[in-house]
């Protein structure tokens, strides 16, 4: 099930990214997303990752990657350095989300954000009926052992974009096994937003 999710969100982002574009992947892991993009779409890729082992795996795949945390890694890039900045399953691990999104929009023409939906129906039921912190397919961690520091719903993120005057270009909602078309804030485990700067 977990691998389905990985495949589905990676497949969606893979299809969003255009060939020969410049891509920065924030929290690129072992390069599971960047590698096929480089291989098939000839993108010019740069990853940012903190984990020692993941860095070595990226280099083994021939990927260029900086060992750094996301919040410190963007300042030096000139405006519009990339066609896409990807923040897939890493935004919720960042403290200064606002700063990171604004910086990503400054250095990238488009920003692709993928995050777990805290308002997923199972989360709501767990909290309401059991009175326990939710554990779901997209939020699989126990409360004391989670890398996540931000918990948000799809509605939260839409409101955030509206308040910051960030334009949402595309949205994709992912359920347990397939795309979710109705009531995504209730039925989607994960969401993928493509953002751009209004200005």
């Amino acid at each position: 099930m977990e691998s389905n999710r990985i495949n589905l969100d990676h497949r969606i982002i893979y299809s969003i990214i255009e060939s020969d574009s410049r891509v920065l992947d924030l929290g690129c892991g072992e390069g599971e997303l960047l590698y096929p993009l480089v291989r098939d779409k000839r993108i010019r890729a740069q990853g940012i990752e903190l984990n020692d082992k993941a860095i070595q795996e990226c280099v083994k795949k021939g990927l260029s990657v900086f060992q750094d945390d996301i919040e410190n890694s963007l300042r030096e890039y000139p405006d519009n350095s990339f066609d896409y900045v990807i923040l897939n399953q890493s935004m919720q691990e960042v403290k200064k989300v606002d700063c990171v999104i604004q910086e990503a929009l400054r250095i990238g023409n488009k920003v692709v954000v993928g995050f777990p939906n805290f308002a997923y129906i199972k989360s709501r039921l767990m909290l309401f009926f059991k009175g326990k912190s939710p554990i779901t397919g997209s939020l699989p961690y126990l409360w004391f052992d989670t890398p996540n520091v931000r918990f948000l719903s799809i509605t939260d993120f839409k409101n955030f974009c509206a308040s910051k005057n960030i334009q949402i270009v595309e949205t994709h909602y992912i359920g347990k096994k397939a795309i979710v078309r109705h009531f995504p804030n209730l039925f989607a485990l994960n969401a993928i937003f493509v953002l751009t700067n209004n200005s």
């Binding site: 495949n7 497949r11 390069g31 599971e32 070595q56 280099v59 795949k61 990657v65 900086f66 060992q67």
Partner: protein, 390 residues
Amino acid sequence: MDKTKSDKKKSNSIGVVETQYYTFAEPGREHKFESGDNLGPITLAYETYGKLNKDKSNAILALHALSGDAHAAGVHKGQDDPGWWDNMIGPGKAFDTNRYFIICSNVIGGCKGSTGPSSINPATGKPYALDFPFITVADMVHAQRHLIDFLGIGKLLCVAGASMGGMQVLQWVASYPERVRSAIPIATALKHSPQQIAFNEVVRQSIMADPAWREGNYYEYGQPEKGLSVARMIGHITFMSDQSMEEKFSRRLKNDKFSFGFDADFEVEGYLRYRGANFVKRFDANSYLYITKAIDYFDLSGGKLIPHGKNIDTRFLIISFKSDWLYPSHQSQEIVRALKRRHVDATYCELTSSYGHDAFLIEVDEQTTLIKHFLDKTFNGYLVTGNYGI
């Protein structure tokens, strides 16, 4: 068990190697130094490992640190000492001699076969001593370029080195970006910091404070041993880390009890004395003065790494070590920031190690993984070797 180990080691060694010499800047074509002084002829000692391929696209220049030399790998005939980067250069190693042609030369100003202050000045028949021109890292690189021209290599697959070797790597990119396909600066800096200059100044003062230094004219009398050994002791402190010294020596005594005198009571004292005493046998004091000064002058900050308006296609692999306080990671990150500003394709990795600055000579496994694959990508482009999903 031990035998198998040493056999294995042997099979991974490049074997017996020989130092070669190249001389340029003959009379009438003297080499102009950054200081404005001219000098010639200039000899560079160098070694090569592996074979240069037909289109001369597999050449890698390895660059040594402050007290290094051209002998980077293998052994000299009748001797046991392997080169300073023998664990990284050889068949199947990070710099794989089965695939690449590796060159290492002693820097100008050095004392291991290249022209330096201890070389004989043809005009006087005596060593240059302090008549030798002041050198910079750029002078080292310009001299190496003559050697690379002589070897007929247009574009190097890679320039790689740590510490001062890393500065030469950066200088190669700054001076000859079109001749460098990839660069691996390790445990180094874009510019020498005041703390680094301060250590070098103490190093120099300890040499020059020794009366045996004789204003640099000691060659008839022997090295300023006391000053030079103290200089090297200072160096060795900065090469280690608090943790590695604790692990290596702790407070262990050489004998069971305190001497209540100024003998070397502690193992760490004995180690430093031993290192200092050994160093005076193999390294010229004036070369140490000149080379430390060259490092202090080094500064490619403020956009000098990549000249304004120039786009470079050199790929970078930058490596630093967590416990290295002589060339701390934030200095490598400054290189990374300079490359980000110019959209240069680069990888940066901070390796975990407790060995301090020495780590670049010790942490072989992780460096090997990084360097091997980085070179592979540079040399061959992408190899679709596995299915990584999608």
